[in-house]
Symmetry: C2
Subunit: 234 residues, 2 copies
DNA sequence: CGGCGTTGTATCGACATAGATACTACGATA
DNA sequence: TATCGTAGTATCTATGTCGATACAACGCCG
């Protein structure tokens, strides 16, 4: 039984929620120059599609310029507004896609101190500065592997001059080579591990391989805590 | 007109898709100890709710232990399976929530070189190493503000010993103070700006304020390019 | 002028989802 | 044993979404 993380991307503007279907509709209109052919290609009914366009325009403003008349006389073209919307959606989707694909490391701990959203979480591997939005004392801190920076421990005696607030030394347990990206698993101590995504070039430059000791850092703003109520303890 | 980024979180297991509603259902059952009271609290019909439980269990395995009999005799309690599912969902939701809330910086450029997912993107502020999944030559590179590391330019002559592949010098344009987190806008040159989220403590330590020159770095794996076809040019 | 392919609008029906209702089975407790 | 509050099941109905269909308005083009 494998559990797959999923999501749907949306943009909300003034009440209406634009989803992927809407964006595909705009793309099809852009490709074919008319709502009718767009509806045909998408296998949708023209009536619904046209209604949806009007619905969107009521909220977003004009996304199309529509002219009646056939045989070269009429048609529909997108406005810049629509193109902006589309790009915005694509960016948002790409970001979410990144999150869904990237592995995350989870470390449990208890909140020691907090000022606003920022909290100090005490864990078995040490204190972690993280964002924990909810009011919780027992938390799981989740760190996305694309936010973990690896540095050579020999050449970085300091750490006061960056905004990287969380720094841990560990040893590399595993290096999984990908296409151009390697996934590195770092054991921090006490069994807790941290995964990092690094480019192949960085991996070679740092000489990353199993057994090497390494420094793993990540920003407090990239670490997120999720409250765990006592009931849910394993 | 403000556009709000949105998303819906789901977990897919063996055909069924568990959404927030399902998780809330599990929480309500956990709180009240019976499906009936859970249905009452949620304003849902018992029949549907019970059906949904069975549906989920067909795919996920047992998430409840249900016993008939009233007045202390019966009731429903969650299994560890359900608690794991719930926590997993919460983590996933928290990650996505982070993405939706965090601002991003966008820099346009053209792909120069690529090996697999990794590409060198030529922009007005210099080359950026980024992940660009699709086959595109004109891209927009999007960098989440929680992935940008700020460092003091005077004290960081190096750059070879970390996995931070993208480093740019710039000047701070704006510092917006939040609760415990500050949002810093850095001008890289040519009008392109990069936003960074840093803790208040880091901001003070680095002496971040408008006009200060600063080094902004981010990992290649945290920079994502989205293809822009020629039509959509502004 | 007639035809064709558009936009625009209204209505009907298919379908899926979920609430409403009713009834059975069950088990601890008063 | 009667009661009460559970679980389990079946059926009907409301609702919302979308496709299907039909038709009017429009405008270029042959």
């Amino acid at each position: 039984m494998t559990i797959e993380k999923g999501y749907t991307t949306t943009l909300s503007v003034d009440g209406v929620t634009i989803d992927r279907r809407d964006i595909e509709m705009l793309e099809a209109i852009d490709d074919h120059g008319s709502m009718h052919s767009a509806a045909d290609e998408l296998g949708r009914s023209y009536a619904r599609l046209q209604n949806r366009i009007v619905e969107i325009e009521d909220a977003v403003g004009p996304v199309t310029e529509r002219r009646r008349g056939g045989r070269g006389g009429g048609g529909t073209v997108l406005t810049q507004n629509a193109r902006d919307l589309r790009r915005r959606f694509d960016r948002h989707a790409a970001e979410l896609n990144g999150v869904a694909r990237v592995t995350e490391s989870v470390i449990s701990g208890t909140v020691r101190d907090r000022t606003g959203e920022l909290a100090t979480v005490e864990t078995t591997v040490g204190s972690i500065l993280a964002l924990v939005p909810e009011d919780a004392s027992e938390v799981q801190v989740s760190i996305r592997s694309d936010a973990v920076v690896l540095t050579d421990p020999d050449e970085t005696p300091r750490g006061d001059d960056t905004s990287l607030r969380n720094r841990f030394s560990g040893t590399i347990v595993e290096v999984e080579s990908g296409d151009a990206i390697d996934r590195v698993v770092v054991r921090l101590g006490d069994g807790a591990t941290l995964q990092a995504l690094v480019t192949r070039a960085s991996a070679e430059r740092l000489g990353l391989e199993a057994g090497r000791s390494i420094m793993a850092s990540f920003k407090a703003t990239a670490a997120r805590g999720i409250g765990v109520d006592s009931r849910s303890e394993s």
